[in-house]
Every structure is written in C-alpha cells, then in structure tokens.
C-alpha cells in the first residue's frame, strides 16, 4: 500500500479517495470499510437514514473525526496522518490545521460567529491566515463573496439579525473565503424553515456549476437528482449503493435503498 501513497498531486489524483475507511467509538463501529472516490469538479451526494454514518464520514474528511482504520486522502495527501515508509505518524495540530484550510465546511446549524458581523465572519480566517494582504483588499474580497451568495447588502448585520437561510449563505461565503479545493456540506438545509431551503440550494447549485468539488450530506432528493454526479446511499455505516443519482433514485437495486427512498420521496 505504500507505493500508492504519493504526495504528488496531479490532475489524475482524485480529490477524495477513501479506501476501506472505518471508524469506531469504543466498540461501536459507525463506519465499516467505506471505499469511494470523488473526482475533481464532481458533486457527490451522501444520503441515508440518520445514524447511517454519513455525517461522521464527512467529518473524517477534514479530520474533525479521526479515522480508525483504512486510508483516507484528500488531493493525494493522507488526512490527519503522515506516512513515512511503513509507519503512520499523527499529524501535528498545526499541519492538520493547514490541511483543513483547503477544505471548506458548512454545518447544519450554520455555526456563524455571533459576535461578528457577516463580513467579519467571512474575513476572519483570511485575516488571520493569509498574511500580507491588506485589510482593504481582504474586505473587498469578503464583500465579493457575500455578493456571490446574494447578501452584499447584509454585510454589516450580525447573525442574529439574519434569517436561517441568510445565515447559511453567509456560512457558505465564510467557507469559500479560504479558497478551498473541496467543499463539505453537512445537511446544510436541515435546520431551515421549508421556505428558506430554496435560497441555500440555489447558492449551492451555482457553486457546483462553477466547478467546485463538493460532498453534500442531504435529505434533499430533488437537489441530489439535479446537481449530483454521484449519489451514495449509506446505511448502518456501509455504502449500500452508489451511482448516477437518477439511476439510483428511480431504480434502486437494494431493498434498504428502496425502503429508505419510499419514506423520503
């Protein structure tokens, strides 16, 4: 397996590669040997019942959770670990943080910083981590991102003054501020009132169109059908079925997939 682990990133390397990834909390196995690949520019939707391990898998990709077995790499680099010969070393927190900068994440509960305005939320990471850029330029870029998610006029609002959909769009702009090569969405619309879901999905659709590589954990089957290149159905910590979303949604091969889809569609 060591031969396969090259740190060189090139166009052929998949953006995300999971080989037999497992994760357990004590004796509780939540991910069992997940293997999948996400190519550059691909949009992958992860669906499945709650507790199926899809969010855990997503959190493993940017090392918010550690993988207990298998290999998980982003852009050819192991996540959270470093391989030298046959040995695997834990990554120093500083290097782990550096890896995360290239991966944007959007949470179910937005997790905006409530003591900062929308534009300050977007600016925070670049201000601290992109040295040598002037404050004015950083702000201009942040405003550009807010305009991209349709919130240029709300830049000076605090999160508490924004609706759920607006907050989530600010969160997307914030995640984009570090110019990530991969975006992770953890049920981005599940905490929203139904009438606010559309505006967030609209922004995500735009992002997908612009060529961003995205992994989306979602219950929005319409979105998956329309935007995803691949749909992965997980249950009980394993990938039950994956493939073209239209295919999987209209003609599921497995009983478990059928049972799940019959409840959500």
């Amino acid at each position: 397996m060591s031969a396969a682990e090259t740190t060189m990133a090139n166009a052929q390397t998949p953006m995300v590669k999971a080989e037999a990834v497992s994760k357990s909390y004590g004796s509780n196995l939540v991910l069992r040997s997940i293997s999948l690949e996400v190519k550059r520019g691909e949009v992958l939707c992860l669906v499945g019942p709650s507790g199926s391990g899809k969010s855990t898998f997503l959190r493993c990709i940017n090392h918010l959770e550690t993988v207990s077995a298998g290999r998980l790499s982003v852009d050819g680099e192991l996540v959270g670990y470093r391989q030298h010969g046959d040995k695997i070393y834990e990554l120093h927190p500083k290097d782990a943080a550096k890896q995360r900068r290239d991966i944007g994440m959007v949470f179910q509960r937005f997790n905006l910083f409530p003591h900062m305005t929308a534009v300050e939320n977007v600016m925070l990471a670049p201000t601290l981590l992109k040295k040598g850029m002037s404050k004015a330029k950083l702000k201009a870029r942040a405003l550009e991102l807010l305009a991209r998610v349709g919130l240029a006029e709300r830049s000076d609002y605090y999160p508490a003054q924004l609706s759920g959909g607006q907050q989530q769009r600010v969160a997307i702009a914030r995640a984009l501020a570090m110019e990530p090569k991969l975006m992770l969405f953890d049920e981005p619309t599940s905490a929203l009132d139904p009438e606010l879901v559309g505006e967030v999905l609209e922004v995500m659709k735009e992002l997908a169109k612009s060529g961003m590589t995205m992994i989306v954990v979602t219950h929005e089957m319409g979105f998956a059908r329309e935007v995803a290149d691949t749909l992965v159905f997980m249950d009980g910590g394993v990938v039950v079925e994956s493939g073209d979303p239209r295919e999987v949604l209209s003609n599921p091969q497995h009983q478990r997939t059928r049972a799940f889809l019959s409840k959500v569609l």
Partner: protein, 332 residues
C-alpha cells in the same frame, strides 16, 4: 411615514370591522391596583426617617461632625487611593492569570492540566488571610532570590525585601489567591460557548490559539463579566485584610489607626464605609459598559425571518449582475 393610514383618535374609534384599513380598537383596560405596595412603601419611608432622625439627634456616638471632618482628610483620601490601587492591580493580574489557568485546565496536555489543578487546590484550599501572612514572611523565609545553578555561587542574588515592598507583596498575595477563583469563572465561561463554534473555527483551519482568542474567549466574556464584577467588588473589601502582610496604608487600617488616636471608632468606620460604597458604585458603572460591549451581536433583535429580496438576487448573480435595484450596503 406621513402617508401612513390615519389612525382614529382613541375616543372616536369606529366599531370594529367597518373599514378594512382601520387598525383594531386598542384595549383600554382599567389598570390593576396594588394598594399594598403603597402601604409597604409608606411604612418603610417612615421607618427610615425615624432611624435617620434618631441617628442624627439621639446617638452622639455617631458623631457626624467627626465624620465630616475626616471624610476628606488627606490621610483618608490617600488610603482610599491605595485601596483602589490594590484592587485594580491585583484584579488585573488575577484575571490574566485566571484566564491562563482556565485555558490550562481545558488543555489537552495532561502536564499543564495537572499544574493548573494543583494551583487551584492550593490557593483555594487555604484562607487568603493565611496566604497574606505567608507573603509577608517571604523575606524571612527566602532572604535572597538567587539565580544560578544550585550548589554553585549564584550569578545574581537579590535581597528579597529590597525587591518586594509590602505593597507589592500585598498585591501578589491578593492576586494569586483571586486567580484561583477567576480560573473557575473563566472556565465556566469557556464551557458555556457552543461546541459548534470551536468546530467551525477548526474547520476553517484556525489553530488552537486563534480559535481561543478570536472565537471562544470573546463569546465567553459575556458569561465571565457579571461574576467578575462580583469578584472586583469582593476584592475591594478583601483589601482590608492586607494588614496581615503587613501593609497599613489602605482604607480600613488607616481609618482604624486614626480612630485609635481620637478614641472615636464609629465615625471612622462610617468614613471608611462611605469610601467603600463610593468606589463600589464607580466600579458598577464600569461593569455596565463592559457588559454592553460584550453583548455585541447577542442582544440584536432578529430581523423578520422571511425570505428576502436577496433570494431573487441569487438569480441576478447568476447572470453576473449586481443587485442594482437596491442601494448597495457594501460600505463600512
């Protein structure tokens, strides 16, 4: 605003349901009466007046002339200054040290964690008075502070009592004790911040320090400040114990010393109390403004939770056009 529908005057409200654009009639209820509140207030005022008159006329031991004479006595004013300095310096040190200790206790590093735990155990487990006596004796226990390799001639040697005045020792004693309590207050504040905040900061690629200083601590401050205000006021009064060091120039000891000469303890107690109250009042004003500052973004009223025009603006962005039908709110 002037072209809003005219509101009917209160007295001439038309019956409900006549016009579509008239607002419903306002409720004009007869206010609930609270006669007992009035009775209680009157009783209390009468008692207070009786007490004051009695204190002014029948109790010569209060000796209000003496109070007036010493209230702004140079020695007393100076002593109040020392008390204020002791409070401020020791609290500043205690807050900084408390934050450090709280962060240490929450650190993943077991060594650092244990150090913080032992510190808390020691400084919370012994009375502040005992600690102050210890600090006063430090010059006797450790006659000089030596820097060098143990067993050899020290490179630098300083006589402890030259380095540390009683004033400095009093501050150290108060601060180190208070830091243990502040650490627990700060820890509670840090734990009160939603875990999602740390996760969001981590996911952005912020390191531990940035996450703490920019995301967690500023939000924890809102929880930390009210009990800290309490601690400051408590500290103001604890300064009266520094006689244990012995530092004798603060308010309580100074007024007691004066009373020992005039044989009139009660007026001097009143003088000291007036000063303590005055300083406390000033500190409370400061606390109010601090609380207001850190409530930023929390007390904001939420705007209407409805989809806004911006929903459509996404479509405009799609066509690479700025939303032009609104004034751009982009500026600072």
């Amino acid at each position: 605003m002037s072209d809003m529908q005219s509101r009917p005057a209160g007295t001439e409200t038309p019956p409900a349901g006549t016009g579509n654009d008239t607002p419903p009639e306002a409720i004009k209820a007869i206010k609930l009466r609270h006669p007992w509140r009035m009775v209680l207030a009157v009783v209390l005022v009468v008692l207070a007046v009786l007490f004051i008159v009695d204190a002014a006329v029948n109790r010569p031991v209060y000796n209000w002339d003496e109070v007036g004479k010493y209230l702004f006595d140079t020695r007393v004013v100076e002593a109040a200054g020392y008390t204020l300095q002791l409070t401020v310096y020791s609290m500043v040190i205690a807050i900084i040290l408390g934050i450090v200790l709280a962060v240490m206790r929450l650190s993943p590093n077991p060594v650092v964690k244990s150090v913080a735990w032992v510190y808390l155990w020691l400084f919370r487990g012994t009375p502040v008075y005992v600690q102050l006596v210890f600090w006063g004796l430090i010059g006797v226990i450790y006659k000089s502070i030596d820097i060098g390799i143990p067993g050899n001639e020290p490179w630098i040697s300083i006589v402890t009592s030259d380095l540390l005045s009683y004033f400095a020792l009093a501050i150290i004693g108060l601060a180190l004790n208070e830091a243990a309590y502040m650490a627990e207050i700060v820890r509670a504040g840090l734990l009160a911040v939603d875990r999602g905040q740390e996760e969001a900061a981590t996911a952005l690629g912020l390191g531990w320090w940035h996450t703490m200083s920019r995301v967690i601590l500023p939000q924890a401050m809102r929880v930390i400040i009210p009990p800290t205000g309490n601690e400051v006021i408590s500290m103001l009064k604890t300064t009266s114990l520094v006689i244990a060091v012995p530092f004798t120039l603060e308010l309580f000891t100074r007024t007691t010393d004066i009373a020992a000469k005039t044989y009139q303890p009660v007026p001097m107690l009143i003088v000291a109390s007036i000063w303590y109250l005055a300083i406390t009042s000033i500190l409370m004003v400061g606390q109010y403004y601090l609380e207001k500052h850190y409530a930023k973004g929390i007390d904001q009223r939420p705007a209407p939770q409805k989809p806004t025009v911006e929903t459509k603006a996404v479509a405009a962005v799609e066509a690479e056009m700025p939303p032009s039908d609104h004034h751009s709110g982009g500026g600072a």
